[in-house]
């Protein structure tokens, strides 16, 4: 059943995301084209100024599409939860024979996948802009050396494996995204309990959760730091400090995500009141 829900959720959201992704890729192509066509060196000043117009225009549009993707991701995430579950369409979604957790997990997974997908598309667009340029060629030439130096730096100096670092980062990013999504869901669900001032209450709930989490995170990071006050002197200490603060950050994110999930689930099962 979760698979079926996700199938329809993708159907509903891809009609919004895919055109934006397409627009971004097309815009990166156009930008690239303008910048490579109008090589300015051999032109006189007048024309140099003129060709700046399409160049700047294309970059501006390109940036606008990127901003739009961020905004749309947020709007769709909120709207699909609020309208599809707590609005009129909730009358259908909550009378389907599926467990309530599936409705939440469905929205969560699909949002997560779209966010990761937009990251991939942005990287792709970066490649379209960069591949083959002089800067790119230099970077490619230099990359193996730089990479080895970074690996050496971490492994020899700080005794940290690069693989572990990457795993830590990927985990932090994915858990961070999940935490972000679930915090929005929890805020909307809490707001939904508050009769007339739902949107205001949702915003308040979001800020409230953020303040609590950041206070706890802040205290925690200070506590974690205490044993390592003199860490700067010893690379080994520095690496274990790094590890500990990364892992505690991930743990706090994970706990908040779990708390938000449980709150959302309780509200949608025991306190569900569609009007």
């Amino acid at each position: 059943m979760l698979g079926k829900l996700m199938k329809y959720e993708f159907k509903a959201t891809s009609r919004i995301f895919l055109p934006f992704f397409g627009a971004l890729l097309v815009m990166s192509g156009i930008t690239r084209l303008f910048w490579s066509l109008f090589q300015t060196e051999e032109l006189d000043e007048m024309i140099t100024q003129l060709v700046m117009i399409p160049k700047i225009l294309s970059v501006t549009l390109y940036i606008m599409v990127i901003v739009a993707i961020f905004v749309v991701t947020y709007i769709v995430m909120i709207q699909r939860f609020y309208k599809n579950l707590l609005g009129d369409q909730g009358y259908l979604m909550f009378t389907l024979p599926v467990e309530p957790w599936m409705n939440i997990v469905n929205k969560l997974l699909v949002s997560l996948i779209w966010i990761l997908a937009s990251m991939v598309v942005m990287m792709l667009s970066g490649l379209i802009l960069a591949v083959g340029t002089e800067l790119w060629n230099e970077m490619v030439a230099e990359f193996p050396r730089i990479f080895r130096e970074i690996v050496d730096l971490f492994e020899r100096e700080f005794h940290m494996s690069i693989v572990w670092l990457v795993v830590e980062w990927v985990a932090a990013v994915i858990i961070g995204i999940i935490h972000g999504i679930l915090q929005i869901y929890a805020a909307i669900a809490i707001g939904h309990l508050c009769g007339r001032y739902k949107i205001l209450a949702s915003v308040g709930a979001y800020l409230g959760i953020s303040i609590v989490v950041q206070t706890i995170g802040g205290i925690f990071s200070v506590v974690v730091m205490i044993p390592f006050i003199n860490a700067a002197n010893s690379p080994q200490m520095l690496s274990s400090y790094w590890n500990l603060s990364m892992l505690s950050g991930i743990a706090i994110s994970l706990l908040t995500a779990a708390g938000c999930y449980i709150a959302t689930h309780i509200i949608l099962t025991r306190k569900l009141n569609l009007e």
């Binding site: 059943m1 079926k4 199938k7 329809y8 159907k11 509903a12 009609r15 599809n84 009129d88 369409q89 909730g90 009358y91 259908l92 909550f94 009378t95 389907l96 024979p97 599926v98 467990e99 009769g195 025991r270 306190k271 569900l272 009141n273 569609l274």
Partner: protein, 232 residues
């Protein structure tokens, strides 16, 4: 046999306002039941409690002996008083949505009913009038082979010809072991199809009776009795 719908001291309070005041009620199988009452009497609240969209403040509501949950949602086919369809979908996509999620959805039957109304499978819901959307929704709901149909104001917003069509669709599409609960305040329109009536007023059950008994013992139509009970 367990009744298809049972309310035990069922109460629902919305932020201080009492919508249902601890009602006890049993609805049996194989009946067409009118849930009749003025606006704001608690009809919609009761139906939403039965479909699991609301949670009771106290007491309980049982569908085939079970509290609302995944199993009861399989058995209950619910028509809300608003449209819940996604505007961007086509009729055909909606049909497949229903047949994907409900084992008891009879897709050929729904397709045939839509065809008879001249609604094309490729039509998007966005392009339809409110009345057409309501008809599509009714067809989706009535094409499920459910044990209990909960129809909230199915004839509220449509013209008399459409009313006849809807009532005809309802009575010709449920099996004889299923129960249909129709909430409405348009009594004379539904009266001919009803077996039983439940009068509900300000959160209380005012009367439950079979239509035959009302006619025989009181010598009145349901409409006349309703006007008497709910005289302002």
């Amino acid at each position: 046999m367990t009744p298809i719908l049972e309310c035990r001291a069922l109460a629902k309070v919305y932020s201080g306002r009492r919508a249902l005041a601890g009602i006890n009620l049993t609805v049996n199988r194989g009946r067409i039941v009118g849930l009749l009452g003025p606006n704001g009497s608690g009809k919609t609240t009761m139906i939403k409690l039965a479909s699991g969209l609301l949670t009771p403040t106290s007491g309980e509501i049982l569908i085939d002996g079970k509290r609302p949950g995944v199993q009861t949602k399989r058995q209950v086919s619910y028509l809300p008083e608003r449209t819940y369809l996604e505007n961007w979908m086509t009729v055909d996509e909606m049909l497949h949505f229903f047949s994907d999620f409900y084992d008891n959805f009879n897709l050929p039957k729904a397709a045939e009913m839509l065809q008879r109304l001249g609604i094309q499978p490729g039509d998007r819901l966005k392009t339809m009038s409110k009345g057409t959307k309501e008809k599509v929704q009714l067809i989706l709901v009535m094409s499920r082979e459910a044990d209990l149909y909960l129809l909230d104001e199915p004839i509220g917003g449509v013209d008399p010809a459409a009313r006849d069509y809807i009532l005809h669709t309802i009575i010709s599409n449920y099996n004889e072991n299923a129960t249909v609960l129709i909430s409405t305040h348009l009594i004379s329109d539904v009266e001919p199809v009803l077996d039983d009536v439940i009068f509900i007023n300000q959160g209380y059950i005012a009367l439950t009776e079979s239509v035959d008994d009302i006619r025989e013992q009181q010598g009145k139509s349901v409409d006349a009795l309703f006007r008497e009970v709910f005289r302002c």
